[in-house]
Amino acid sequence: MTSEKTESKKDLPWLMRTYSGHSSAKASNELYRTNLAKGQTGLSVAFDLPTQTGYDADHPLARGEVGKVGVPIGHIADMETLFDQIPLGKMNTSMTINATAAWLLSLYIAAAERQGVNQSQLQGTTQNDIIKEYLSRGTYIFPPEPSLRLTTDVISYTVNQIPKWNPTNICSYHLQEAGATPVQELAYALSTAITVLDAIRDSGQIAADAFSQVVGRTSFFVNAGIRFVEECCKMRAFTDLWEQLTRERYGVEDPRLRRFRYGVQVNSLGLTESQPENNVQRIVLEMLGVTLSKRARARAIQLPAWNEALGLPRPWDQQWALRMQQVLAIETDLLEYGDILDGSPIIDAKVRDLIGGAEAEMRRVQEEGGMVQAIETGYVKRQLVTSHTARMRAIETGALKIIGINSFTETAESPLTSGTDSGIMKIDPAAEREQIARLQAFRAARSQVEVKTALKNLKEAAVSGENIMPASIRCAHAGVTTGEWSGVLRDIFGEYRAPTGIDISTLNMAGSNTVDRLREHTRKTGEELGRPLKILVGKPGLDGHSNGAEQIAVKARDVGFEVVYEGIRLTPEQIVKAAEEEGVHLIGLSVLSGSHLELVEDAMGRLEGVGLAQIPVIVGGIVPPEDEANLKSLGVAAVYTPKDGDMNLIMLDLVNIIRASNGLERYEA
């Protein structure tokens, strides 16, 4: 029975999850149960944008977004449906939720109680890291100070009441998506951890002798890119830095509480739309970065699907991603050995290098006054935009090679995307309507008196500064909706708009023929039209992934456009008003949440309504070919997707679109 012996020596594999949720609580529940049957060992809930940003499905800003990037959870009945026939006492559930983390956790606790499960038995994770939302991802609601208070409330509550819960997952993941280098990822994630832990220590909600437990419950959510050797070193650097920080800054004596515990979603930034099958090997290699080194191995992994750059993955695509993990953990010999990298001088040198860089950048953040100040002054965001812009410029010049994008671009037609569904999941457009109908029926059926009392209670807790969780759990049981809970806190805390960070300096690329020619075209066209070319770049809807829009804005400025950058979370009405007041020559809309058809149609209709139909509109985002055709039939001048990697070509296109719409001849490429 040698095989059994080997088996018994093997390390236990990490938790295997798939980040999923769509359309409705019922549809997502079916998907979860199927995934668990296929060998998934935990759940990772994706919420839709209205739920993440605290709006009910029938709010105007939610239009087109309901059930798109995740499941809509509007109230306790939705949460109960989501976990129907899934015993919450035994499940390990990760929830990617931040601004409304306290609320979704309250709904989860209330749903568990209705299953007869006491909250103390619950296991799982709330992401609950608001800091990175200001830098990337963009689903923040409140200003940093009250946001941090909500974060610490969740942590204090769970440490006291739900001992096995990971109350916060400090995220370097989204920083890498926003362009962070490994050093920046290390520095900003650890600076965030310091900010959160200091805030809890100073809140007085935790007894001094229990503080080590808080440190021990703090976990991380990291990213793994394609440079997997460096990524592996990054994880070792994280482990060492955390060990040192928890010992020196927080005096944690128990080594188990100083372990760097983390989950992973591998890189989405590097996944390509062209030759999308190549994403499979990218994802597998990226997984190596977070599994090779035993002492810095991930506790939980979720992998994106190969077609994430095309649209939403189907159940089969998610199954493929799960099978990648299973092959690595079960078929290979990876889990049979100790740490295979220990003692390598090359690895050690690289780790030392990363640690040195990270420590210097952490000092820089401290000089800014800490992570919150460094965000408010725009320092961190500017660093990230600079890194991301450097990456885009490297792709542009060919210094950074990406297969299928700027090298080896020739390809046979892919059978993967040729099916009737073009290889992606389509959300039933009826999902939003049905969700609104369920919400309105739920509102009508609940006890209005109980809702009123619970909301009053919540308001008092928010104002007085007492822990927000007990009042929120009461709201959950009373039938309060996601929009109502957030509305009360919006009134008290106010809403926030984070710095965009795009005010970085222009790169002097004079001497680059392409850029010189572009600047000349932009200037000349401006003269022909009487004034400098002016464009508006904005993101309609709730989607906060602003990197694409920011890169376009910076690049356009660099080639001589005057750019009004409007940032995230705009209604089509706001965009049209801005376009009119600013007198722009072109409007660029960026949508990555899959709501492009609804939002663009709305904006175009309004432009026509104010007599500005002649202003050309372009759209950027994750847009399947079929939708591209639909957008063009609405009158959209051009659609750009992740496969359009050459920023200079896009810029030339913008000039030409403006020229064409003003009766001027186009420039040759």
Binding site: E528, G530, D558, Y565
Partner: protein, 337 residues
């Protein structure tokens, strides 16, 4: 394709601007920005048709400046909310620097200035400074005139980092300087004598506590008492855009300065003086000191301009004509205004 139909009819446009129609204001601003000769002719006509009373005797033209990061946009947002509560219609002209390398610019911070609600009585236009006219673009003055015709309050927001950028005070009735607490900048401004320019100083981020109080005390210590009863007493106050404190006091201070200007009969005089300076600056850009001397010198031109009832473009055109005729038409003008 570039027929005259591309350009709006200035007579109809002027009437619509006077009627406070938002789309017309937007079109008029586009026209004033347009450098083509036909657009210039129409813009000149448009400005001539705007009522003198609006341009020189009513409304309030406010300049708001300060170092980057002082929170000018948040202060603007708080002021807009308050002015709207007082029933005033508000226009904002937000001026941002252009890149000297590409000529491009990232403009405005509209969203920080607006609440989520759509309000058609608030109008925001961003403008790149395009490397001319100190820190301001030459279009600021004519654009302000169109905005004054259609709105009650016009606020020009600029980044003030040095003597040059404080030029906004040469174009506005009331200048407000927003200081950043605990930054050396404010002290630098004191040393540079820039603090003599603004009518009101406001230390933002009063919620920072000690740092803000310290900066306010430093600023107050440098304020000179008014020379006599009829002169304006510069004041310094603290505000927090984030907490909404001190905004009412700031708005009241701004309003007090406007009333002071009216009582002193200075509003009309100042605006005519701004216009004269604007025309002079443009002449200087075009012909240099030589041209200005050939036209009789800056003082004489200014005196003449301040008496004139013509629009700024007309005044400029007339002086250009006069210069070129005096020069026998030998030298052709290189550029259009």
């Amino acid at each position: 394709m570039l027929t005259s139909s591309t350009f709006p009819d200035p007579d109809a446009l002027a009437l619509a601007v006077i009627d406070r129609q938002r789309p017309a204001v937007a079109k008029a601003l586009n026209l004033l920005d347009d450098q083509r000769p036909e657009a210039r002719r129409r813009a000149t006509r448009l400005l001539r048709l705007l009522p003198q009373q609006k341009l020189y005797a009513s409304g309030h033209l406010i300049g708001l400046t300060g170092p980057p990061g002082a929170g000018k946009s948040s202060i603007t947002a708080a002021l807009i909310t308050l002015w709207r509560e007082r029933g005033l219609r508000v226009a904002v002209l937000a001026v941002d620097p252009s890149s000297p390398i590409s000529g491009g610019a990232l403009l405005g911070d509209r969203l920080r200035m607006l609440s989520g609600q759509i309000d058609n009585e608030v109008f925001i236009r961003s403008l790149a400074c395009r490397g001319e006219f100190g820190g301001l673009s030459a279009e600021v003055w004519p654009m302000s005139l169109v905005m004054l015709t259609a709105f009650d309050v016009v606020l020009v927001e600029t980044v003030g980092v040095g003597q040059k950028e404080i030029d906004v005070s040469k174009l506005t009735d009331t200048t407000v300087f927003v200081a950043q607490p605990a930054s050396g900048d404010s002290i630098q401004f004191l040393k540079a004598g820039i603090m003599e320019v603004p009518h009101l100083l406001v230390v933002n981020k009063a919620d920072l506590g000690l740092a803000a109080r310290k900066t306010l005390a430093e600023l107050r210590a440098t304020l000179k008492p008014a020379v006599d009863e009829s002169s304006w007493q510069v004041t310094a106050l603290a505000a927090s855009a984030a907490r909404g404190t001190g905004i009412t006091e700031l708005a009241d201070g701004i309003e007090a300065h406007r009333r002071w200007l009216l009582n002193q009969n200075q509003l009309n005089a100042r605006r005519r003086q701004f216009q004269a300076e604007w025309v002079l600056k443009r002449l200087d850009d075009e012909f240099g000191r030589f041209g200005i001397n050939a036209l009789g010198g800056a003082d004489a031109i200014k005196r003449e301009l301040e008496r004139s009832e013509s629009s700024p473009f007309e005044q400029f055109e007339l002086l250009c004509q006069r210069f070129l005729e005096g020069w026998g038409g030998k030298r052709k003008r290189q550029t259009q205004p």
